[in-house]
Symmetry: C3
Subunit: 326 residues, 3 copies
């Protein structure tokens, strides 16, 4: 019945790095600056995103495309990266710039680990996005890649239609072999502009939007990435909003400056007692799976069902992955 969850659960006993990427912080790096690109391998952040969209001025987009394509083409020469994941954020299909982005990127020998596609507003747009990728990369290269997909919800219409948007994207993977959707980002700036909202520090105006957003992500077992905290100097406010986001079910947060990384990544790390609980539960779960398939799992006195196992798995994978890389 829960096809998204069932699909996920086939991987659930493998805590391998390929199956899970922590994205506590997701940092944008402008692709237009070669000087900044040279520093990319050393930047320590869960997810590092080379930027072609809003962080890249229109006049620099052609240069940024060439730079990023060259970077990807020559990826092995960069050595090990300090980040867990290297992604590229392309322009939206409605901007008319996506085809040029993908055309240039597809010339590189390597694909990024994740493509981030902003401003997905309508299930129809997904067909157009898939078409642009297929035309440039070829269906086979996409199907054989391990690259993932992250999309952005940034308008009133997209938020209302989000369940259908996510189901359509997951089906494009299942039926056509498009990159597997792995996470969703709430683009609050464009969302607030679309609604004519004024932003406040408390963020009450986006409570409905952010809580509906998380609910939709989790209904499809997808990572939920929270909005940007604009005020770079206010690290206390950033911490407060990060902790709130984690408490509401978000898995990570967008990040526009390196000083925000430690505050965000610390806030999205599970507390020690939760880690202990999760490890013990997963041990029990694996033992149970190997032994007696047709009974219900109980742990510390209570029955355990799928959401609890997924939550524990998420905690264990995050921590394992982060520890291994230190």
């Amino acid at each position: 019945m829960r096809s998204a969850i069932r699909a996920f659960s086939t991987n659930v006993t493998k805590t391998d790095r390929k199956g899970f990427v922590p994205r506590r912080a997701l940092l944008y790096v402008p692709g237009s600056s070669e000087k900044v690109l040279a520093k990319v391998p050393k930047i320590k952040v869960d997810s590092l995103v080379l930027e072609l969209e809003d962080g890249c001025p229109l006049a620099s987009k052609a240069q940024a495309r060439t730079n990023i394509a060259a970077y990807l083409d020559d990826l092995p020469s960069k050595g090990d990266h300090a980040c867990f994941e290297l992604g590229v954020r392309v322009n939206s299909v409605s901007s008319g710039l996506l085809a040029d982005d993908v055309k240039e990127l597809s010339k590189a020998k390597h694909l990024p680990q994740v493509f981030l596609v902003p401003k997905v507003d309508d299930p129809d747009e997904l067909a157009a996005i898939w078409d642009i990728f297929k035309t440039n990369y070829g269906a086979e290269r996409i199907q054989n890649s391990k690259s993932r997909l992250i999309i952005y919800i940034e308008s009133a219409r997209a938020l209302l239609d989000m369940p259908r948007l996510l189901a359509t994207t997951l089906n494009l993977h299942k039926n056509a072999g498009f990159f597997k959707l792995d996470g969703v980002v709430f683009g609050s700036d464009d969302f607030c502009a679309d609604l004519g909202m004024s932003r406040s520090n408390e963020g009450t105006e986006t409570l409905y939007a952010r809580q509906r957003f998380v609910t939709c992500c989790k209904a499809f077992s997808l990572q939920a990435i929270d909005s940007v905290y604009i005020d770079i100097k206010d690290l206390d406010g950033l911490r407060r909003q990060s902790i709130e986001g984690k408490a509401w079910g978000f898995d990570g947060k967008q990040c526009i400056h390196p000083t925000q990384i430690p505050v965000i990544q610390e806030s999205f790390l599970p507390p020690p007692d939760k880690i202990e609980w999760a490890k013990a539960l997963i041990d029990e779960y694996i033992k149970h799976e190997n032994e007696q398939r047709n009974t219900v799992l109980t742990f510390r006195g209570s029955m355990v069902d799928r959401p609890v196992i997924l939550q524990a798995m998420n905690i264990v994978q995050t921590v394992k992955y982060i520890q291994e890389s230190q």
Copy 2:
């Protein structure tokens, strides 16, 4: 146009006890303990629920089934109950335990007044639930019973799909004669686990979920039962959350300890001026219905439409029912 409401309105002039059950507090009593079961007739609470699900450890489920079936079989011998309603919470269909529950319960001569089915996630599950009941009780025994149904919303997917879930359940009554859906419970613990949320005392993290939940219940004229307040010793916090729930439109609250009953039931009782208003309006409504069918009802200067009448009816029935039984 509002079929659910129209269906309800055919009963609206009968303020009989069969048509309405107040469920300000809904107390779970473990079915596994014969000692506790012996006290059931004397427990004073609106709705008393014999528990086979989360409050009943896996190892005790078989015993609990036997105990509850025996209790129901021998129901007349227990005399009058102090509660308004005696229910049984079975296990979810996804647990794989529901068939065993219903098989055992169906051996008893009597049915509980309400069956409570947790973790309904998907309209497809309802067909499976109906099938299990039909197989064990037989369609005719179900159709001839006065038993009601309460279901639980406990996941992101269920909350998003709630209108379709409720419509499907009401249609199962209308088209196949399944128990009539009468109320819905928000299962906040499982919901928060599904979303990876951390609970706070203020409960801001579930604001969207609880307010959407009430809206869905009321769109189908169903009772809305609020989440459990976990901290048994904090009666002030319980009172605060109960009053908030009532103000948001909830009709009652789950209850995990007898000390919580008076606080909850008092909080969910309408205030005296509201009771006076409701009684006068219903008197006027009955007079109006008997006299002049094709005009609009006005009361104290304003036109009165269906939702206002239902609200007044709810208040009058709650108070009447409670007073009669004291």
Copy 3:
């Protein structure tokens, strides 16, 4: 893909008065009092609504219909109105009074600039509403008029089904020539009665409802009009709630007393820096549209897409319109 938005955008370079009506405050004036009606031309408010529904007692409805029809019949003789828009709120289709309202109104030579139809609960009701208007006015007279439509969302069911309600209403304009839907009002009193809610001054109980309401309006590029502030004497509370509404994306607020007008209209006026920004952006946009159609517009360093242009357009039109009339 965004048909509603695209439809709007064809007008976007014309800042004519016909294309846009500011509705910061929407004042109800009872149609039953000839004395009050005589003052209508001098009342200074963005949108002035002659009232046949809740503000008009049942016993006075026939008189109010006659008065309003006479007013509209003789409209040119009233001279220039101080309001931007003169509307009529009719009764809901479910009240059974709508046909009588429209029959009487249709006898007048002139139509109001906007018809306000309350308590639209179900897409099926829209067919009934369209039918009543067509029967009385004739399809041609409706299609040739410039009158707009505003509908009210006032129940749990309507809020849940709001996207389909708005799409159906916009389609009735596109396919059958019914009045063009231009705005939507949140009827909080009936909504709270439908849900059995108690109102508080802070209004936390309607947070979900109001934020979902705005999101639905903006997904279809419609004006969102906020709930009534009941306590006429509490102008500070009114200001607080007006500012909150504007920050959340509302375009205006209902108004039940003339003293509320200045507080509301001031709160819904954009701040000076926002006005400067919007004017400069629209100048740039018009230049860009005239010159180089196939590139992306950038403004002050960032790319500008449709929602931002619509937001700026809304600000410019509001201010231009208001200034021209002073």
